[in-house]
């Protein structure tokens, strides 16, 4: 049981390039989330999805797009990468609204550097 798997683990991009980060979960979870983690700032929610075919904006959505075409996958896209998007990106999933009995399960992150 892999849990939440993020691909790739590391990536270096040049300013203006595009890329897609993939998150896959094998727990049949309805809810999925994308966060970014920057030094001294904790995690900030970028976008989330409450089910297949749905997406919604979080706290810091600008410059990112997402898609949830399949229940198990949640894609995060950067159309034109900027140095300010250098960060560690974490995906998480949950079976329903977050609680002690239904926690968020996190992947191990994608470290992205924009030059």
């Amino acid at each position: 049981n892999a849990g939440v798997t993020q691909t790739p683990k590391f990536r270096v991009l040049k300013t203006g390039q595009s890329m897609t980060l993939l998150c896959a979960q094998d727990m049949n979870h309805e809810y999925m989330y994308w966060y970014r983690q920057d030094p001294g700032m904790g995690l900030r929610l970028i976008h989330y999805s409450v089910g297949e075919g749905t997406t919604a904006k979080g706290e810091v959505p600008d410059g990112y797009n997402v898609s949830r075409l399949k229940k198990q996958n949640f894609l995060l896209g950067l159309e034109s990468a900027a140095p300010s998007q250098t960060s560690v990106y974490f995906c998480a999933s949950a079976s329903s609204r977050v609680s002690s009995n239904q926690p968020q399960h996190f992947g191990d992150g994608t470290r992205l550097s924009i030059l």
Binding site: V4, Y33, G40, M41, G42, L43, R44, L45, Y48, V50, A56, G58, E59, F90, A92, R97, V98, S99, S100, P103, Q104, F106, G107, D108, G109
Partner: protein, 112 residues
């Protein structure tokens, strides 16, 4: 109002000590307060969580104390071990609005 303040930024204790990490929030819509533990190169993992109608919750060596009127909550780690050395994040969730706010983290080092 969306911010969760966390202190200290870093903490060093001897093995067996009781590190305490404090957090404070403003938004009264928050209804779930988890603590996460993160090791280098790994994603955060839920450690313990509490709801605002409870003043204290204990799981093993980890205890959350919650003060609703002061809008503060804290994590205590009893009999700390070197294996507890990690970064700890508090968070405040508004589950209805799917609004999640994390504190900036506390780097804990437990010396053998």
């Amino acid at each position: 109002q969306q911010q969760v303040k966390q202190s200290p930024q870093s903490l060093i204790v001897q093995k067996g000590g009781i590190p305490i990490i404090n957090c404070a929030y403003e938004n009264t819509a928050f209804d779930y307060f988890p603590w996460y533990q993160q090791f280098p190169g790994k994603g955060p993992a839920l450690l313990i969580a509490i709801r605002p109608d409870v003043s204290e919750k204990k799981e093993g060596r980890f205890t959350i104390s919650f003060n609703k009127s002061a809008k503060q909550f804290s994590l205590h780690i009893m009999d700390s071990q070197p294996g507890d050395s990690a970064t700890y994040f508090c968070a405040a969730f508004d589950n209805y609005g799917q609004n999640f706010v994390f504190g900036p983290g506390t780097r804990l080092s437990v010396l053998p």
